[in-house]
């Protein structure tokens, strides 16, 4: 009897629990829920685009390690520490130390991270696009413009990837399927650049005709940003060949920028890199950040999520052991060669702007003073200099904002000054006079104008104007003009032009070995 009752009770309990199907089927806790996006609501259409801007600005293009790697390939920046990978890159080694160096893999992922984000956003834009009525011309135009903004960043990623690695894959919207990532194949460098130029034609046709600081989304990419990228791609393809038709493209694009009347150089070269120079009329492309003027709370820097190190200004800041407000990790040390170059030119303003000192010859316990009156000490590594273009003086910092050095500054990527110098170079190479655009840049730097400038003078001016900036222009200029092997110790033509494809990438996709 009792047994039967017990068994019956057991069966009931089991049946009851089984009945509670919810018990196992309840959704997981503390997870992002599945989100429905209302693609018919065109007011949301800019959201995936804004997401791409953020991806491009934080933790990717301006990430500390990729900035360092592309800078130490030139002769303006020393490694600042004895990290074996960086030193090997600096010495143009191509062995395992470089190939399996985490930094080049991180740089690859950073750059392609923007490409993948752009492809993902294009798929989102496609969803919005399908729901825009055929008669809704205004939204169709916006849709095309937004798509162009996203495609600009994708092309910028491909452009930079091919600049650092040569032949690289071009990833289209098919890469939204992860399996495609394991099978992607390489495209030749020339074809990547041609692809970038083609993409820019779409962008030029569909982007806003405005100076970036006057764009609807202030500081967004416009027609002129696309023209600039197209010109740069064309210039890389043209190389040192004055007869290349690509110089026509460079000239045409830069002419469109200079004759638009929308741009002018920021008058103060020193302040250009500081708060007053943010998003000036010289800015063609700038990555934007903010601390919103608040001493604490929300902040946007170039680092990824929770990545203090990723802050562009912080890792280049001097190791101010003696605890003054300007303090960082002391990477990216301006080379003596760069200092000597500016000194020899008597390029005082650029020197004063770019080359700042750490104490007396870097000796611990000594102190130097910046043009803005900040004290900077020597350091254990005896590093003498730090890069003034990423120096952010205390008197411009948001009051009481102490946690992120350089928090409220933007990163200058493409400047009108460079467009002018490209215009000058194209003109000179095509046998025209480049004096006007050339001297506009020179005069702003408080240097005397030169008449009848030569290619070498333009290249020297480029070197001085862009000195210690972060996009590898100096190295690229030496490459495209064939001077690398003579100027850079350790550089071997045919071997040292590009970084090796990261070992980890080859391990995941054997197509990259070919």
């Amino acid at each position: 009897m009792k047994i039967n009752k017990q068994i019956a009770a057991l069966v009931m309990v089991i049946a009851m629990l089984t009945g509670c199907s919810k018990f196992l089927d309840r959704p997981l806790e503390n997870r992002a829920q599945a989100t429905e996006i209302d693609y018919a609501n065109t007011s949301l259409m800019y959201q995936p685009v804004s997401g791409v801007y953020r991806t491009a600005a934080s933790g990717t293009f301006a990430k500390w390690i990729s900035v360092t790697i592309r800078s130490v390939r030139g002769d303006e920046i020393e490694t600042g520490n004895d990290d074996a990978g960086q030193i090997a890159i600096h010495n143009y080694q191509n062995n395992v130390t470089v190939k399996s160096y985490w930094g080049i893999n991180d740089m690859w992922i950073s750059i392609y991270g923007v490409v993948l984000a752009a492809n993902s956003a294009l798929e989102e834009l496609d969803q919005f696009g399908q729901r825009i009525g055929s008669g809704d011309a205004a939204n169709q135009k916006l849709h095309a413009q937004y798509e162009a903004e996203v495609r600009f960043f994708r092309a910028l990623g491909h452009y930079w990837a091919s600049r650092y690695w040569g032949d690289v894959p071009v990833l289209g919207i098919e890469s939204n399927d992860p399996n495609a990532l394991s099978n992607a194949t390489k495209t030749s460098r020339a074809d990547v650049l041609a692809h970038v130029m083609e993409e820019m034609d779409y962008c030029i046709a569909n982007l806003e005709d405005a100076r970036p600081n006057q764009a609807a989304h202030v500081g967004g990419v416009t027609k002129y940003t696309a023209l600039m990228l197209k010109a740069k791609a064309a210039m890389d393809l043209a190389g040192n060949n004055n007869g290349s038709p690509m110089w026509d493209v460079v000239l045409d694009c830069t002419n469109q920028i200079t004759t638009s009347g929308k741009f002018n150089l920021f008058p103060d070269y020193y302040q250009l890199w500081k708060k007053p120079g943010k998003l000036s009329n010289e800015a063609i492309l700038e990555f934007q950040y903010s601390d919103f003027g608040n001493a604490t709370g929300d902040i946007v820097t170039s680092g990824g999520a929770n990545e203090l190190w990723g802050n562009f200004f912080l890792f280049q800041g001097p190791e101010n052991t003696y605890g003054m407000p300007i303090s960082g990790a002391g990477w990216m040390v301006p080379s003596q060669k760069a200092v000597d170059f500016l000194t020899a030119r008597q390029d005082t303003l650029r020197m004063r702007t770019t080359i700042l000192r750490c104490g007396v010859n870097g000796v611990p316990g000594t102190t130097a003073v910046t043009p803005d009156g900040d004290q900077v000490s020597g350091n254990a590594g005896l590093k003498k200099y730090f890069n003034g273009k990423s120096y952010y003086p205390k008197n411009q910092m948001t009051v009481d904002r102490v946690d992120y050095y350089g928090a409220n500054n933007n990163i200058r990527v493409f400047r009108y000054a460079e467009a002018l110098l490209m215009n000058a170079e194209a003109k000179v190479r095509k046998g025209q006079s480049g004096d006007i655009p050339f001297n506009e840049v020179r005069v702003r730097a408080k240097l005397l104008p030169i008449n009848g400038v030569t290619i070498q003078q333009v290249l020297d001016e480029r070197r001085a104007e862009l000195i210690c900036e972060w996009w590898g222009e100096r190295f690229n200029d030496l490459l495209r003009t064939g001077q690398a092997a003579t100027v850079l110790p350790g550089f071997i033509t045919g071997q040292s032009e590009f970084l090796p494809i990261p070992q980890e990438q080859e391990d995941r996709n054997s197509n990259l070995k070919n």
Binding site: L24, S50, V96, W102, L279, G381
Partner: protein, 1017 residues
């Protein structure tokens, strides 16, 4: 404590009262007990030479029997004891001796039940709790080190922190620790338990034993039953306590001031000589001869640290109620000379009542309250890299406060002051845990059928307080503000088990059937808050007392629910042919796939039970076993199983951040499109084994061979171009090996001795990685520099790099070596004598990726333990050894040389063997070579032999009785040395390295010397 069970019970009942006799009768009362005075239930009492009369002892050991007046003696027999005859008297008291073959009759705790050891088809190890108690460790698992074959235990020196435990290799990328079941409750760790509270501990290693635990069984199962009282048991009070000191052993010797100076000057950079010069200027000495020589490990370690344990235990029982109470206090100070210690209070209550003859109800509660001060293990690593050229304290360091610690920056280095790192660490973890279990057990049909329903709960909460005071380490004026972070965690878990057990037999056939159902839920929640500028006073350590930070909080948690149905059937014929089959269906809320099915089958053949074995004298017992089954591992992380749209400010760009405007977010989103469904990992295990007893049961042993194949092993599968990986069930791996245990017991006169030993071998192989040929991993921050590789066909996470062949001795050798001469042809920094020489595996004359090979595995090929025990009159002595062989350690302390330029030191071994000219050494590079990129690659130079042999425990005991002879108190005094000696070639503090074998920030294991007392009355 051991439970004994009689399977003669039913037969005996049949005998009782069936035969009425016309003869004159006499009633005899009696009691059966064991040598320890505990009642022996279920003993069969028969009358000598008079068949048909019998009785069975009750649970209190008592019996009443009517015997013919002519009867002169009674025969008492029960499994597990020697048969004994006693003369008939009105009131007999019989004390039984344990039988020779008793171990076979021992009842072993298995999943959701018990089984006679002789009938097991699974290699289940029952832990000798006596031996376990000999070890003076604060956590129970540490006390098992080296004593269970197939179970590798890697100690962790920090006070109160649990060791890492691996059962039969590593079969998962996720969770490799076994499931612990304490009185029916699932827990992940048992460091909350006091070893003295453990009555039984069984370790289930194979599928036949463990598969009944389904999705939690893949890493093995450790079953623990806490102590209980017995019916009609005289109250017994036991005190157990010891006091000891811990002493650091095998302390790592670093280069002293002089050696460091030499090394530094040989490196030859301006920076190096600056440091040397600054040290003499500031801290004494002249020019390049500084006098400072700080031994940082010596500064960081206590000479001795206290460890003590006191426990009192009560057990007893009346006719219908049993109870037990245990109280325990444990304190362990850390050997790091800073705030680090472990203090634990335990209380255990157990009560069981026979409410009705057929119904038992009971509860047990286990309460733990502990306070742990967690050390900063990083200080040990800091001590490795800190130069000896600066002192601990420096009064001239004017800005430093509250303590005038010296700063390496004053001599141009970036070393942390290790003593300061340890001193400014305050990390207090207070934990409280209650583990209540309530059950009812009903028996029917002459106890053939038992139904048990049990609810087990676990409630634990903890508060972690991490506080760093306002301080300045100097020499600058920059002050680090104080910071407080409090973390609260709460676990609320329950398991509801319903078990129906049927046990029966007919003739020589015996069988049992278990039907079970289990429901469980696990909830975990964590909240942390943090603030700066919190005052130094401990009473003010609330976040509200400081400056709140917008990002200074987070909340995390999960809820996992599971539901299971399981069954086990056992059958044996004449205890000779054995069969165990189990099946479990597990449902889980964690995965998209809700249900998993885990079957197992075990077979056994007692060869000595056969007639053809009757004549032989070699084996007293011989059993062959074999098992197969599937086990699950739900340590796999759950995922959402859909694309995630990321919104909010982290995915929105800033526009309009100009010279004046601050800019603002334009709302944005990104989409993570990479996902896949996940489910549990499945281990399919085969086991073949033999158990034997030989030479008059003096030699006992067992040998098992197993192979465990993990399928659906989950890991983050990386893809090209992105850090986004897809966590899914992509991989497969196989572990296989032998587990062997042997013991020899004998007596020479009054000397009883026992020699035991065990060893386990392990072979691990990755057999599939999805479509990937290989995968690199490592430990932060040296993931890329010192990688390990997971590759199909190789052992998991082997160290990957160049094979070091030696050191280039001369310029001539370099010129003749193709690798070196090719390298020197282009490299800016050229290979010189004193540089390491790496093997060109493919002989192409270039050191490239093809030359990077497997340079060792962190998994030991063999782990072993052996021990000797002696008993002579009142004295007992034991010694236990333990070790591992064939494993490699990546010496990351030395590996730090890779990145160090402004912060490094080298160990004494390195310093005194450094290359300093042709022929000086072929094992160590020159000082100069260390600074060069050529040295800074993952190579076998950094991979060392991790084999060791340790004297794990030595104990000498003396036992005596005091008090009245009718109620004597038994007292044992003992002296113990735990882990006093270690033999290893490894150039580090300790070869015991948890995780994948990288030695950095490891808290060293210490030796313990103690005096203890155990008294029971």
């Amino acid at each position: 404590m051991k439970y004994y069970l009689s399977f003669c019970f039913i037969i005996a009942i049949l005998l009782t009262g069936t035969f009425a006799s016309a003869q004159a009768q006499r009633s005899v009362k009696g009691k059966v007990q064991d040598a320890q005075g505990l009642p022996v239930p279920g003993a069969t009492i028969t009358v000598k030479n008079t068949p048909g009369i019998g009785a069975i002892s009750s649970e209190a050991g008592t019996f009443t029997i009517s015997v013919p007046a002519s009867a002169d003696s009674l025969v008492i027999s029960v499994i597990g004891y020697n048969r004994q005859a006693v003369a008939v008297s009105d009131n007999v008291e019989i004390t039984l001796d344990i039988a020779d073959g008793a171990t076979l009759e021992q009842v072993v705790v298995i999943g959701y039940g018990t089984q006679r050891k002789g009938d097991l088809t699974a290699p289940i190890t029952t832990v000798n709790t006596e031996n376990m108690m000999k070890r003076t460790t604060s956590t129970p698992m540490d006390a098992l080190q080296g004593s269970v074959p197939g179970v590798q235990i890697i100690g962790n020196g920090a006070p109160g922190s649990p060791p890492s435990v691996r059962v039969r290799g590593v079969g998962s990328f996720n969770n490799e620790s076994p499931l612990y079941v304490v009185d029916g409750m699932f827990v992940n760790d048992i460091s909350f338990l006091n070893a003295a509270d453990i009555a039984d501990m069984s370790i289930l290693k194979d599928a036949s034993g463990a598969a009944i635990y389904g999705v939690r069984a893949a890493n093995g199962v450790v079953l623990i039953t806490t102590k209980k009282g017995k019916l009609n048991m005289k109250t017994r009070v036991t005190y157990n306590g010891y006091v000891g000191i811990q002493v650091p052993v095998n302390v790592l010797k670093m280069a002293d001031g002089k050696q460091y100076t030499n090394f530094s000057l040989q490196r030859g950079t301006t920076q190096d000589s600056t440091t040397v010069r600054l040290s003499s200027e500031r801290f004494g000495g002249s020019g390049l001869n500084p006098t400072t020589s700080t031994d940082w490990y010596d500064e960081l370690l206590r000479k001795q640290a206290l460890i003590t344990n006191h426990g009192i235990d009560l057990q007893g029982g009346s006719e219908r109620v049993t109870y037990s109470v245990g109280l325990n206090y444990t304190y362990q100070n850390g050997i790091q000379d800073a705030k680090n210690s472990f203090e634990r209070y335990n209380a255990r209550f157990q009560l069981e009542a026979k409410a009705f003859p057929w119904l038992k109800v009971g509860f047990t509660t286990y309460i733990t309250n502990s306070t742990t001060f967690v050390p900063n293990a990083e200080a040990f690593s800091d001590a490795f890299s800190a130069t000896p050229l600066f002192p601990v304290y420096d009064e001239q360091n004017v800005n430093a406060f509250p303590v005038k610690f010296a700063s390496a920056a004053t001599i141009g280095r970036e070393d942390a002051n290790p003593v300061a790192s340890a001193y400014y660490n305050y990390n207090k973890l207070k934990q409280f845990q209650v583990l209540p279990t309530l059950y009812a057990e009903a028996s029917f049909w002459k106890d053939k059928l038992t139904f048990r329903s049990q609810i087990s709960q676990l409630y634990s909460s903890s508060l972690r307080t991490q506080y760093s005071p306002e301080r300045n380490l100097g020499p600058g004026t920059s002050v680090t503000v104080s910071n407080l972070r409090s973390t609260q965690e709460r676990n609320t878990n329950y398991i509801l088990d319903n078990l129906l057990t049927y046990r029966d037999g007919a003739g020589k056939h015996h069988w049992s059937l278990l039907l079970g159902q289990s429901t469980r839920e696990e909830r975990w929640r964590q909240t942390w808050v943090s603030a700066n500028n919190v005052p130094l006073v401990e009473e003010s350590w609330y976040v509200g007392q400081g400056t709140r930070d917008q990002n200074g909080y987070n909340e995390d948690g999960f809820r996992n629910a599971g539901m299971s149905y399981f069954t086990r059937g056992t059958y044996d014929y004449d205890n000779k042919y054995l069969l165990t089959a189990t099946f479990r269906a597990d449902g889980s809320s964690k995965y998209q796939t809700k249900w998993g099915y885990f079957p197992s089958v075990g077979l056994g053949w007692v060869v000595t039970g056969e007639n053809f074995m009757k004549g032989q004298r070699v084996f007293d017992f011989l059993k062959l076993r074999g098992s197969w089954g599937k086990l699950g591992n739900d340590g796999v992380n759950a995922n959402a199983g859909y694309a995630i749209v990321n919104t909010g400010s982290a995915n929105s760009a800033i526009f309009g951040s100009g010279a004046i405007a601050n800019g603002e977010y334009i709302p944005g989103y990104t989409v993570n499109r990479f996902f896949t469904d996940v489910t549990w990992e499945v281990v399919t295990e085969w086991d073949a084994g033999v158990d034997f007893e030989m030479i008059g049961r003096r030699l006992k042993g067992s040998v098992d061979y197993y192979t465990r194949k993990t399928t659906d092993a989950a890991f983050d599968r990386p893809f090209g171009f992105t850090y986004v990986s897809i966590y899914g069930n992509w991989a497969e791996m196989v572990n296989s090996g032998f587990d062997v245990a042997l013991s020899w017991d004998d007596k020479i006169g009054d000397l009883h001795y026992q020699i035991g030993g065990n060893f386990s071998t392990l072979k691990n192989e990755v057999t599939d990685l999805g479509s990937l040929p290989s995968l690199m991993s490592g430990v932060f921050p040296f993931v890329a520099e010192f990688p390990n590789k997971i590759e199909v066909g190789q052992s998991l996470r082997y160290f990957y790099g160049y094979e070091m062949e030696g050191v280039y001795q001369s310029a001539d050798e370099i010129a003749k070596d193709p690798v070196a001469s090719n390298y020197n042809a282009t490299a800016l920094s050229k290979i010189q004598p004193g540089w390491l020489k790496y093997k060109d595996q493919d002989g192409n004359g270039i050191l490239d990726n093809a030359d990077r090979v497997n340079i060792g595995s962190y998994l030991p090929k063999v782990t072993y333990g052996f021990n000797l025990g002696l008993d002579y009159k009142n004295f007992d002595f034991s010694i236990a050894f333990q070790g591992s062989a064939g494993n490699k350690i990546l010496n990351l302390n030395r590996g730090k040389l890779y990145k160090a330029s402004n912060s490094l030191n080298i160990d004494e071994e390195f310093a005194s063997n450094m290359w300093n000219g042709a022929g000086s050494t072929n094992s160590y590079p020159s000082a100069r070579a260390i600074a060069d990129g050529w040295f800074k690659v993952g190579s076998s130079f950094f991979v060392e032999n991790g084999s060791y042999l340790r004297v794990q425990n030595i104990q000498l005991g003396y036992t005596f009785n005091v008090g009245r002879s009718s109620a004597p108190s038994n007292i044992r005094l003992y002296l113990t040395a735990d882990r006093p000696f270690i033999f290893t070639k490894y150039n580090g503090f300790t070869p015991e390295i948890t995780g994948p074998g990288y030695d950095m920030n490891v808290y060293p294991v210490s030796a313990t010397y103690s005096f203890g007392v155990r008294a029971s009355f």
